[in-house]
């Protein structure tokens, strides 16, 4: 008690100094590498800014945003990114949940299976891009060679506008191991008694999944959903190294367009406007996910 009183009166200013001293690295970094870039981004998004021109940024009002509205590449990149998110995010969640359920069963060789599923998620993005470039290779690639055996000729996975995007989505499933591990950990938190009582009540395994496992796992599913949405807006290295955004911009992602504007076309102001829109979209999506989660996320007495 005496200690507490002391802490709240005499020592409190010393505590404040100490506290801020310890968190000062983060505060400095927050200002220099987050607040400042965002503030500058907001300003530059109203500027014409070519870094090669000595005069620096030139204020042009909302011209960048007006240009964006009529920029077919912007809409294409936005559509591609949403399209990828709409397919790849739910399928990776379903696949990893399914795998986690399988890997959580008492099955001989379980540790080996878990390791095999997890390892591909460790493969660095660029190395995985190189590997899949070769797998998708027309005629000599693994996929076409296998399909050829059953009489199917591959369509040119990365070279046709119809197949390039689905091919990138498919290969992203190879890296679900990370999410699977999170789901397995979540599954192990589900109290055993709940299954037992459900079983005594005569619930089938599908009903147990639907009424016991999924509700209890919903916070984990929610966490992964948000991370996956944010992740989609950062997809860059894979299309950059595998398709260069092609063919015909079929795999041109939003971040790719920011990158090209800023560092290829030297349109920094335009790139900042794009970045700002990306920020707003992510905040909105996360907001929607959080709001809707109230309906379906079940927190276990916390």
């Amino acid at each position: 008690m005496a200690n507490k009183l002391q802490a709240s009166s005499g020592a409190s200013s010393r505590q404040n100094i100490k506290g801020y001293a310890f968190i000062s690295p983060w505060i400095l970094g927050f200002i220099a590498f987050l607040l400042l870039p965002i503030a500058m981004s907001i300003y530059y998004s109203f500027c014409d800014f070519n870094p090669l021109v000595k005069s620096g940024p030139l204020f042009i009002g909302t011209a960048n945003f007006q240009d964006l509205a009529h920029d077919p590449i912007f809409w294409k990149a936005l559509r591609n990114t949403f399209w990828y998110a709409a397919i790849a995010v739910p399928s990776s969640l379903v696949v990893s949940l399914g795998l986690a359920l399988l890997l959580n069963m008492r099955i001989p060789g379980q540790p080996v299976f878990r390791t095999i599923i997890f390892l591909p998620s460790l493969v660095p993005t660029i190395a995985s891009a190189m590997l899949w470039l070769w797998i998708y290779n027309s005629r000599y690639g693994l996929l076409d060679a296998m399909l050829d055996r059953i009489g199917i000729t591959g369509p040119g996975w990365l070279t046709t506008t119809e197949w390039a995007m689905p091919s990138l989505m498919f290969m992203s499933l190879w890296g679900v191991g990370y999410t699977v591990v999170i789901f397995i950990a979540g599954l192990q938190d589900v109290p055993r008694e709940l299954y037992e009582s459900a079983e005594i009540d005569g619930a089938s395994s599908i009903r147990r999944l639907w009424h016991v496992t999924l509700p209890l796992l919903s916070p984990v599913i929610f966490f992964n959903l948000i991370m996956a949405i944010i992740g989609t807006f950062q997809v860059f290295a894979t299309p950059y190294a595998m398709t260069q955004g092609g063919p015909d911009r079929a795999t041109y992602f939003y971040t790719y367009y920011i990158f090209d504007n800023a560092f290829t076309n030297n349109k920094m102001g335009y790139a900042c406007a794009l970045g700002l829109i990306q920020l707003v979209i992510i905040l909105a999506l996360t907001g929607i996910a959080t709001w809707s989660s109230k309906r379906w996320v079940h927190y276990q007495g916390r």
């Binding site: 505590q15 590498f33 008492r106 660029i126 693994l142 591990v181």
Partner: protein, 303 residues
């Protein structure tokens, strides 16, 4: 954890009756499904390994063989000594960036996390909330102006930033929100009595941090170090933006340059080079498997 009685059918049956373990047929269906799925997951790796051991001519042999007719391990040596894939140089660059990133991230994140976990100061809750929300801001939103900031910083101080490794590791010394959060959660589980006792003995706050908290938090700190290392090892976009000369490239960028310059002809060498880039991560995984899995599990659910 689960002490298993000897596996006899009688035993299994009685256990099922008591604890309600899954009935047998579904286990075998599960087993079969996993064998199939795991074969699918392994196939790309086997294909990569197989290609990396082939001669250049046999990579375009049709139909392809999984087991090469002629094993050519020399590919791994050749891949490292390509004119535009200078493996020793790229590995050195990667290691410099990764080691500095690991040191910076671990030390700064731990200090900040200690402040948030163990010292009561005004505005703590608010600042912590702000810090958590910064995790949602993705790098592409910041990268354009960060590039400009580092350019100005170089012009004003006379110390170049862009075109050097600095933009890649300097920010690591200012803590990373995700790791601060992770460590703060861990520090909260360390009882205050320990630090109180040390404080009464006249130990300074830094002394408490280094002598009591750090030793106890070694598992959590190694998770942070591991993830920082993996992040730096995999990073592609950062180096692509900030580095100008191919002599500075890390492995990730080097691999991509190698591919684009060879126009996808020498697949055997490309696969060998890719395997060389993958190998350290896989080896690291098998060395500290537990740290990996626990790290992912805690970051993913205990939030």
């Amino acid at each position: 954890m689960d002490a298993r009685p000897p596996m006899t059918t009688a035993n299994l049956d009685s256990r099922r009756a008591i604890s309600g373990a899954r009935p047998r047929p579904s286990r075998w269906v599960g087993f079969a499904a996993l064998v199939l799925i795991c074969t699918g997951f392994m196939a790309p790796i086997i294909w990569m390994l197989s290609t990396s051991l082939k001669t250049t001519e046999s990579t375009t042999e049709y139909p392809p063989r999984i087991i090469p007719q002629e094993i050519h391990p020399i590919n791994f040596i050749n891949a490292m000594h390509q004119q535009n894939f200078d493996f020793p140089l790229f590995a050195r660059n990667t290691l410099i960036i990764a080691v500095l990133t690991v040191i910076g991230t671990t030390i700064s994140s731990a200090l900040v996390a200690y402040g948030f976990a163990k010292i009561k100061f005004r505005g703590r809750g608010l600042l912590f909330g702000i810090m958590l929300s910064t995790m949602m801001i993705p790098f592409p939103v910041l990268m354009v102006t960060l590039f400009i900031i580092f350019r100005y910083l170089g012009e004003y101080t006379g110390i170049p930033f862009n075109g050097t490794f600095k933009p890649l590791w300097v920010p690591a010394f200012f803590g990373s929100a995700f790791n601060i959060f992770l460590l703060r959660q861990f520090f909260m589980t360390i009882p205050d009595e320990l630090s109180e006792a040390a404080r009464i003995d006249g130990c300074s706050e830094l002394g408490i941090f280094f002598r009591i908290i750090v030793p106890l938090a070694r598992p959590a700190l190694s998770v942070v170090a591991l993830f920082a290392f993996m992040g730096a090892w995999n990073d592609f976009m950062g180096p692509l933006i900030y580095l100008h000369s191919p002599r500075q490239y890390p492995l990730s960028l080097g691999l991509q340059t190698f591919q684009s310059q060879h126009g996808g002809t020498e697949w055997n060498l490309l696969m060998a080079a890719s395997l060389i880039v993958i190998a350290p991560v896989i080896i690291l995984f098998f060395l500290i498997q537990r740290t990996f899995i626990e790290g992912i599990a805690t970051t993913g659910i205990k939030g």
